[in-house]
């Protein structure tokens, strides 16, 4: 019972409304929670029962084979390590580029600000497309290097705009002028005054970028040739897609060897896939609650006040 409830008796309509809200939230909770629980349960259930649709909420025919296979699979672990490297380095670079740029663009005394903003905004709506981007990456000699996954995505315009709006609206211009009058340089102003006041946006940017790096697979698909450099999502994708391919490939003009190979792959994949999903999403799920506070705050800043 909160204060409002005890002070003023809520009307029947109010209570009905609240009931509706709770019912709606419960449904939303179930919708969000069910897939997570399902995957968790499926990862320790016998694949046969999962595929037959007999396992629908709680684990059935419990087996740890999936996890055993995951822990034995060296590709998954090298993928894990690579993903951590890409995420940490990539996010660090993202922050190092986005925050100063956003701050500079937020200053109304920055000469040519509108021009720069326009130029940057244009890239949000028009981009080179897949092949030209590939050619650029190739000509920068980034093909098959880790840099290919980090450098081309060093800044996201969307995040840049969100951060700029934050700086514009949250850090009072007067505060900056005061610092300047005390003899503060622009760099010091940014590092000593602005950044310490901007923790929410830093956290939000880190989360946005970090999740992006963690989940990305397309750049690695396009730019990497060496599977020792594949991130986890790429390994995961290979396991999941290969199993779907069995039906397609065992048709015309395929030898018995291929059919047998595909069949044994599918068997492994059905054991492995849910366990891999759990292992690969767990870190993000674990980090999320701690950053979520800032997440909501940051989004509000960007959208409402902007």
């Amino acid at each position: 019972m909160n204060v409002a409830d005890s002070a003023i008796k809520s009307s029947r309509g109010d209570r009905l409304f609240m009931l509706g809200v709770y019912v709606f939230l419960c449904i939303a909770l179930i919708v969000v929670l069910y897939p997570l629980l399902y995957i968790l349960s499926a990862s320790i259930s016998s694949p046969k029962l999962v595929n037959a649709g007999e396992m629908w909420l709680l684990p059935k025919g419990i087996t740890w084979d999936g996890y055993t296979l995951v822990f034995q699979n060296s590709k998954i672990w090298s993928g894990y390590l690579n993903t951590i490297i890409y995420t940490v380095l990539g996010t660090a670079l993202n922050l190092a580029v986005t925050l100063p740029a956003a701050y500079a663009l937020s200053r109304s005394d920055f000469v040519g600000r509108t021009l720069f903003v326009i130029i940057i905004l244009v890239t949000m709506f028009f981009n080179g497309g897949l092949v030209p981007t590939y050619l650029v990456v190739k000509d920068l000699h980034l093909i098959n290097t880790m840099g290919a996954l980090i450098l081309p995505v060093a800044v996201s315009v969307w995040n840049l705009i969100v951060a700029r709006t934050f700086f514009q609206t949250t850090i009072p211009r007067e505060l900056q002028e005061a610092a300047q009058i005390d003899g503060c340089t622009n760099l010091k102003l940014f590092v000593r005054v602005v950044l310490p006041l901007s923790f929410p946006i830093i956290a939000v940017m880190a989360l946005f970028y970090g999740v992006g790096h963690w989940n990305s697979y397309l750049p690695s698909l396009l730019y990497l040739n060496d599977d020792a450099k594949y991130p986890l999502q790429m390994v995961l994708r290979q396991i999941l897609v290969l199993q779907e391919m069995t039906a397609e490939t065992t048709g015309a003009a395929i030898s018995g060897d291929i059919a047998k190979a595909m069949n044994s792959k599918a068997e492994t994949a059905s054991l492995l896939k849910y366990a891999v999903i759990v292992v690969s999403t767990l870190p993000i799920i674990a980090v999320y609650p701690f950053l979520q506070r800032y997440f909501v705050q940051g989004v509000m800043i960007g959208s409402v006040k902007g």
């Binding site: 694949p47 046969k48 590939y134 050619l135 698909l221 040739n225 391919m245 039906a247 395929i254 059905s270």
Partner: protein, 533 residues
């Protein structure tokens, strides 16, 4: 070293020239290359050579550690560097590589479509191989001489050969066969398999009503299919369409050399009618259009399904290979005297190609040619002798399997660590001799089933492997995707009854408007060209 570098530069210059002057350039460059490339025997090159190779990677293997490639590198003196892409996204990567201008020296198991071969061949990215075959590929040349239809099928309309094929004359299946669940046959006391569509219907009906799995529940599914990767009913369709006198896949040629567009044929309508009847009486799994392959498999493993398609029955049923589950013998309808049966043409084009930036096309051709010899094909399909197999009598090429090393249980899995030819359409030819002595009882039984139920009943390839000219290809490309989408949708609608069969005329009229007849005409032209060659 100095002279090698100079030769390399000459070669480079020559191969760049190929892009511009395909025909003439190859003559000039031969003089430069023959100094280092041996025309026969090993090593292929006297000075070490490194080439890059692009191939689809199925996931678990490590190409750098394959015994077969080590053996090959050692005896040929050619070292390989890999620019592989995962098999599931290989096509995307392949197109990017072609667009990027930085090509691997060789494409291996690349599945280059005929359209890609013409396109990239005429742009000069893939070099013509016929002269190289003449001089540097004795094994492949012999195959072409013995099988003129192979040459016809891999030669582009401009007269060039841009890629070497996979040749497998011992794999006859056009699609996965359908298998009967042997337990159900036994439970229903069936000794003679259905031979007509009516008998088939009766059998399926009995499965539905007489509880052959004996669990007291009416949970039997007479016939099932899956929707994996939009293939829908593909395997089932192939075999049942034959009962109504037409071949599967949009295009086929009849015995009078007339090309037909299958979805327009009367037989297709009869097939839809039959399937619709199975659907209405719940004899065709109602999840056929929505379930995944694994869901289908789960039902089969649960002993609920009477008929299903797969490479071998045990792959769906689980357990050991068993001769108790017979192969489906195509049945006939009232429309025809006997069912038509599709056979695999045995040639898959586009398995191996050489790019214009390759420093030594001659050496590359010799490297590939080895894969078309008995020894090379054996090495790449079974691994080196003494690991998974050994000769019991080398003179007659008879072999036996050795126990799987390191206490493994899965022979295929172990094989995948030895050789790249695992799960990809690699350039090679399959000789009968390769499996001599290695075939088990089950393999022999499957061969016999194939022989008696399909080959002896007059199976033939519905349409030869052939090339379209680039104009034809452009037209076909624009027609196919719309037509396929429409046909797939309508097939499902007709079968499930969402669209009554009385709308057949409307459907054929739409197909004609969309260019179905034009498509048949284009293929007719290509076929006539192929036949007259």
């Amino acid at each position: 070293m100095g002279s090698y570098a100079k030769t390399g530069k000459l070669l480079l210059a020559a191969s760049v020239g190929i892009g511009l002057l395909a025909g003439c350039a190859s003559n000039e460059k031969k003089g430069a290359a023959s100094a280092t490339v041996n025309k026969e025997g090993f090593p292929i090159v006297s000075e070490p050579l490194t080439l890059t190779l692009m191939a689809p990677d199925t996931g678990e293997q490590d190409w750098k550690k394959m015994k077969v490639l080590d053996v090959m590198a050692e005896q040929s003196n050619i070292k390989l560097e890999f620019r592989n892409a995962p098999k599931d996204s290989f096509d995307t990567k392949k197109n990017l590589v072609f667009a990027s201008g930085e090509y691997p020296d060789m494409f291996y198991a690349a599945g280059l479509t005929t359209a890609e071969q013409i396109n990239y061949g005429q742009q000069g990215i893939l070099i013509p191989l016929e002269k190289l075959i003449e001089e540097y590929a004795p094994n492949f040349k012999k195959i072409l001489e013995e099988n003129p239809e192979v040459r016809k099928s891999i030669t582009a309309p401009d007269g060039h050969i841009y890629a070497l094929p996979v040749i497998d004359m011992s794999q006859h299946w056009y699609r996965n066969p359908i298998w009967y669940n042997g337990d159900f046959l036994k439970a229903l006391n069936i000794t003679k398999l259905p031979t007509t569509t009516e008998e088939l219907y009766t059998y399926l009906k009995r499965v539905k009503t007489e509880d052959p799995n004996g669990n007291g529940k009416a949970d039997e599914i007479p016939l099932t299919a899956s929707n994996a990767r939009d293939v829908n009913l593909r395997d089932v369709r192939t075999w049942l369409l034959g009962s109504f006198g037409v071949y599967e896949d949009a295009i086929y040629v009849d015995d009078n050399k007339t090309v037909h567009y299958t979805p327009l044929e009367e037989g297709f309508k009869q097939y839809l009618t039959f399937m619709n009847r199975l659907w209405n009486e719940d004899l065709l799994d109602h999840e056929s259009f929505s379930q995944t392959d694994e869901q289908k498999k789960a039902k089969i493993q649960n002993n609920q399904v009477a008929m299903f398609s797969n490479w071998n029955a045990y792959m769906s049923l689980g357990g050991e290979p068993s001769t108790d589950d017979p192969m489906y013998a195509p049945v006939k309808s009232d429309m025809v005297d006997k069912p038509v049966i599709a056979e695999n043409a045995g040639i898959t084009p586009g398995a191996f190609a050489i790019s214009s930036t390759n420093p030594s096309p001659e050496a590359s051709m010799r490297w590939a040619d080895y894969l078309y010899s008995y020894e090379g094909s054996l090495l790449f399909s079974k691994g080196p002798e003494g690991i998974l197999w050994k000769y019991t009598d080398e003179a007659t090429r008879t072999k036996e399997y050795l126990p799987i090393p390191d206490g493994g249980t899965d022979r295929e899995k172990y094989r995948s660590t030895l050789t790249p030819n695992y799960g990809i359409p690699a350039p090679t030819i399959n000789f009968d001799d390769i499996d001599k002595g290695l075939k088990g009882d089950f393999d022999m039984w499957v061969m016999k089933e194939t022989q008696t139920k399909l080959l002896d009943q007059g199976a033939r390839p519905p349409f030869p492997t052939l090339f379209l000219t680039s104009e034809e290809q452009t037209q076909i490309n624009s027609l196919t995707s719309d037509l396929n989408t429409y046909v797939n949708q309508m097939e499902a609608k007709f079968i499930t009854g969402a669209e009554p069969l009385s709308n057949w005329d409307k459907y054929t009229a739409t197909l004609k408007k969309m260019g179905a007849e034009k498509m048949a005409k284009i293929y007719q032209g290509a076929y006539d060209r192929w036949a007259s060659n």
